[in-house]
């Protein structure tokens, strides 16, 4: 079972207590945006086979959102962090680059 550390309440949480919220770091668009921007925001997804940044909701716990970096191919978890960020913290990016040489955050975005 997938176990993630909730940075909000400090607990290691089983998958059954969590709800996945899909891809993280999406740029939101509001009124006045183009159809293309809305489509990208609402539907288009990286869906990578590899490192994936995603939102999680600690539904049956503290009830707060957090973000995680996880590999969709090996299920390896690189770390979790606060949802109040625009991009992943450096320590998590370093950990991913160490495990996946050649990988970079910029290449993904």
């Amino acid at each position: 079972m997938l176990i993630l550390h909730c940075p909000n309440c400090g607990r290691d949480v089983d998958e059954t207590d969590l709800h996945s919220g899909g891809e993280a770091h999406l740029k939101r668009f509001g009124p006045g945006s183009s159809d293309q921007e809305f489509e990208d925001y609402l539907f288009m997804r990286e869906n990578p086979k590899g490192v994936h940044f995603e939102r999680w909701h600690h539904s049956f716990g503290c009830g707060k959102w957090f973000l995680a970096a996880r590999c969709t191919n090996t299920l390896e978890v690189f770390g979790t962090y606060s949802a109040q960020t625009l991009e992943p913290p450096k320590e998590i990016l370093d950990r991913i680059t160490a495990a996946r040489p050649g990988w970079s955050w910029g290449a993904l975005k």
Partner: protein, 414 residues
């Protein structure tokens, strides 16, 4: 190709069955093809088959990174039905269902199509209304389904407990012409027919890159060398996003594991397919006697073909109330496949931003039933540039908000 028949079996019986040919060739790739289909699952092979049969295009390669039909084609619960709510869905799924009826004869290959009937249970008031609406929509679409009450459900499927307490059976949507087929045989039958038309089915050949020139596709890089083509069909289900990113575009797809499991074989006890969407479980009995059970998808993206164990527990726990007799069964095997889910839970059969590349994906949790219809429509799209069956399923519908919203008709289980 040597035709399979009772006479051929009798003839071979006299010579120790030494005269059978291989069902399909295993050629090395040529330098160039008119059309390359990536993915030798049911949809990819069916596309190739109808390119040859309906349009005479036979300079075709179907390339596959694993083995033939080893992805979701060999991992699903083999349910065939066409009781969808929206017109475009009903059209393509009913086309598929009708093609299944004659598939064994068309391919000269026994796909063991068994139109045993599919029952979708209504276990909440919401589902009662939803399925009655679907039954009405189906009668306008020319798809034969009917709404049946709880007593009729009990009659059709006596092993069912219809009294609840948590999820009583309030009725169901009954499609008598739905059923099951042997999934491997569908892939094998198409592969044999494609090979017989001169097409190359190339296994263990993984695509590592897509080459384009001036916004038009020129070929693919593979583990067996570079292969050129005029048109490229991407029919790879769970890995659709990976392949699309090689060609430089994104898809509105997320890949998640979907699991299934089978019990030990028991005596015949259920001669229909039952789907219970409220509790995310569906079940049929295979010809070997195993109870074949499928459930809901995992909540998060993954490519592991494994899935989270607690989803199996949820599925089985929910089914036990409706089917008390399965409580004592031992489960033999469990497996997972990676399904490609779109925002509106309907498939994508479409041109792409790259000229000459066509994509067929997004069948999500319910692609097996659609194989022949999908292949028929995709072949028409690739040969002529448009098809009445695929028009509404183009990948650009999300930008315009023209969804084919099947969440009422299909829910999670497909």
């Amino acid at each position: 190709m040597k035709r399979y028949s009772a006479f051929a079996i009798a003839k071979e019986a006299f010579r120790q069955h030494t005269g059978w040919d291989r069902a399909w060739r295993s050629p090395e790739p040529k330098k160039k093809y008119d059309v390359i289909i990536v993915g030798a699952g049911g949809h990819g092979l069916a596309t190739a088959y109808f390119l040859g049969k309906n349009f005479g295009i036979t300079n075709v390669a179907v390339i596959e990174k694993g083995w033939l039909g080893g992805g979701n084609t060999g991992r699903n619960t083999t349910i065939i039905r066409s009781n969808y709510l929206q017109d475009p869905s009903a059209a393509i799924y009913e086309k598929a269902r009708s093609l299944y009826e004659t598939m064994s004869q068309d391919l000269n290959y026994n796909v063991m199509f068994s139109p045993r009937g599919v029952l979708m249970l209504a276990q909440t008031e919401h589902e009662v209304r939803g399925y009655k609406r679907t039954a009405h929509a189906n009668s306008l679409q020319g798809v034969t389904t009917e709404w049946v009450g709880p007593q009729k459900v009990k009659e059709i499927c006596p092993i069912m407990n219809i009294d609840g307490p948590r999820y009583p059976v309030l009725g169901g949507l009954w499609q008598a012409r739905g059923g099951t087929a042997r999934h491997d045989a569908v892939a094998w039958g198409y592969a044999r027919a494609c090979s017989d038309m001169g097409m190359d089915v190339i296994q263990q050949c993984e695509v590592t890159g897509v080459t384009t020139s001036g916004g038009k596709v020129t070929g693919v890089n593979t583990t067996k060398g570079d292969i050129a083509c005029d048109k490229l069909g991407m029919v790879v289900a769970g890995h659709a996003s990976v392949l699309a990113s090689m060609a430089g575009f994104q898809l509105p797809i997320e890949s998640v594991p979907l699991q299934a499991l089978v019990s030990e074989p028991i005596k015949p006890c259920m001669d229909i397919v039952v789907m219970a969407n409220t509790v995310h479980g569906y079940m049929s009995q295979s010809d070997k006697g195993e109870m074949v059970i499928g459930g809901g998808t995992d909540g998060h993206n993954a490519y592991t073909q494994r899935g989270s164990f607690h989803h199996i527990e949820e599925t089985v726990r929910a089914l036990v109330e409706t089917f008390p007799m399965i409580a004592n069964l031992k489960m033999l095997r469990q497996w997972g496949g990676i399904v490609d889910v779109t925002g509106d839970r309907s498939p994508i059969l479409s041109k792409t931003p790259v000229e000459g590349i066509f994509v067929n994906c997004g069948w999500g949790t319910g692609g097996f039933k659609a194989i022949p219809g999908s292949g028929w429509a995709m072949a028409e799209l690739m040969a002529k540039g448009h098809s009445p069956l695929t028009e509404e399923f183009n990948m650009f519908r999300f930008r315009e908000g023209k969804f084919i919203d099947e969440s009422v008709a299909a829910g999670v289980a497909h």
